[in-house]
Amino acid sequence: MTVTAPDTTATTAATVEFRGLRREFGPTVALDGLDLTVRPGELLALLGPSGCGKTTALRMLAGFEHPDSGEVLIDGEDVTRVPAHRRDAGMVFQSYSLFPHLDALDNVAFGLRMRKVRTSERRARAAELLELVGLADKGGRFPHQLSGGQQQRVALARALALRPRVLLLDEPLSALDAKVRLSLREEIRRLQQDLGITTLFVTHDQEEALSMADRVAVMHAGRLEQCAPPAELYGRPATAFVAEFVGTMSRIPGRLADGGVEVLGQRLPVDGPVPAGPDVDVLVRPEAVGVRTDGDGSARVVATSFLGAAVRVTVRLADGTEVKADLPAHEAGGLGAGTAVTVSLPERPVLVAARTP
């Protein structure tokens, strides 16, 4: 961990482990026994609704919060009691975390100044990092003279200045507007892969998590629901919570029979664990649902909304259940509100969950 070498690549990437982390704030349980391992060099997104404990977990790794029980390990070494400034973790905050009295260059050089690196050396290194985030010409600007996206880039450069073993991103894009968010998202991912630095990324935006991360850990009420690569998380959600939090999911009532499930007049095999039956809900993604105009159909189109390449059609079944389906725009032409239709599912195994009232 030298700060003097001129190159920008990190030394060997670190492994981060959370073991049985538990934390209560008065009556609320922020973390309820979190176990999670971040592999070396990967970008892991912590995803969940607000209050699920994802930020608390990140702040424990940074050293700003302390667990009631459990431990945090970096490369197998227990750092639970190590103070924040010796953790070797660079952090990017939600917003407005740059030091307002320093210009961009001095902001990036701040950590090096704390480590007593010589002035000329740290200025050179800071300039190099600013170039890395594409702000080589903005070194003399103060934070209030930079846009939100530029500020976050400077914050990213500052977090990388000390060559941390772990990079922590606490919803760094949530205060930015949509376009900047998209470009910065790609840039963070590119930098992270170039540097090969182990990164933990907290977000409540599932699209952000799915598009950037190597693996996504979905949290709910202080516990880990599932940790898997984005495609697996979307295609094979382990729990009903994950299924409904990640992407859109419709619940269609079905009945378990002979190891399969009867739904919409079809008999389909069950994927994953089977809940106690016989009455269950079948979970389906909108792109898997087929909708066909049928004068004799018992289902009715309730609403359609145009999404560009696809049209999302909301259909009410005979029993009152609403199902969402995404159809290619050219197929959805004749489907106005009130059209009688039939709804079908592809002949593939489906996820089922216990019936919710």
Binding site: F93, Q145, L168
Partner: protein
Amino acid sequence: MARLTLWRWGVLGLAGLYFLVPLAASVVFTVDVPGQGVTFDAYTQIFSTDGFTSSLLLSLELAAATIAVVLLLMVPAMVALRLGAPRLRPVVEVVCSLPLVVPPIAFVAGIGTVLKWGPEHLSRTPLFQTFVAIQNPDFPFVLVLAYVVMALPFVYRALDAGLRAVDVRTLVEAARSCGAGWPQALVQAVLPNLRGALLNASFLTLALVLGEFTVAQLLGFQPFAVWIVNVSGSQAQLSVAVSVLSLLVTWVLLLALAGAGGRTRTASRG
């Protein structure tokens, strides 16, 4: 638009008259001696009058000490309050506002009573020497203690306004994640962004100490304000000249403070 501008100038003019007419009258009174024409004798006399330099210096020393003590006391306290115990803020606010409610005359009566304990109860203990030391007429530290208390409401408000404008918690955490320990985080990341607030607090404390009369007079010390009153009893023109001069001195000091802090204040704006 034109009418609005007219109004603004009108109000400014009236306010200016309100302040400047008495001031101008004072100046005229000191320089225009009947029968002698315009003369600056009153002002030259000031510098030769016994006690001018010593009392002014004493006041400045007291002001510097008070500013140092009150800031050392309040800045860490307010930052800790913000980071650690935000719920205690109303309590601290009320405590810091108390000196506004307690009249100085009652305050000094209390101090006088406590100071009497020295000879009455503590004469055989080492504390007695402490009591003597803080009442040293060359530098009465007891006045600094009193002024610190009296400055609390102003300093609290100035610092509170400054702390509201910055996100102390995030700044400290950002500094700590950059490898700064607690003291470094406070000094390098938080304090520079409170420059304006520190300056305001110093302003108010300086003005308070330079103009304070009651406590100093009743405890029997002679800083600048007390000296002015003592002089004015004997020579009318001299006393007014001293008042005008003290006004100018205060202004110059405030401008100097503003000049020292102004450059960086613009840099840290936003």
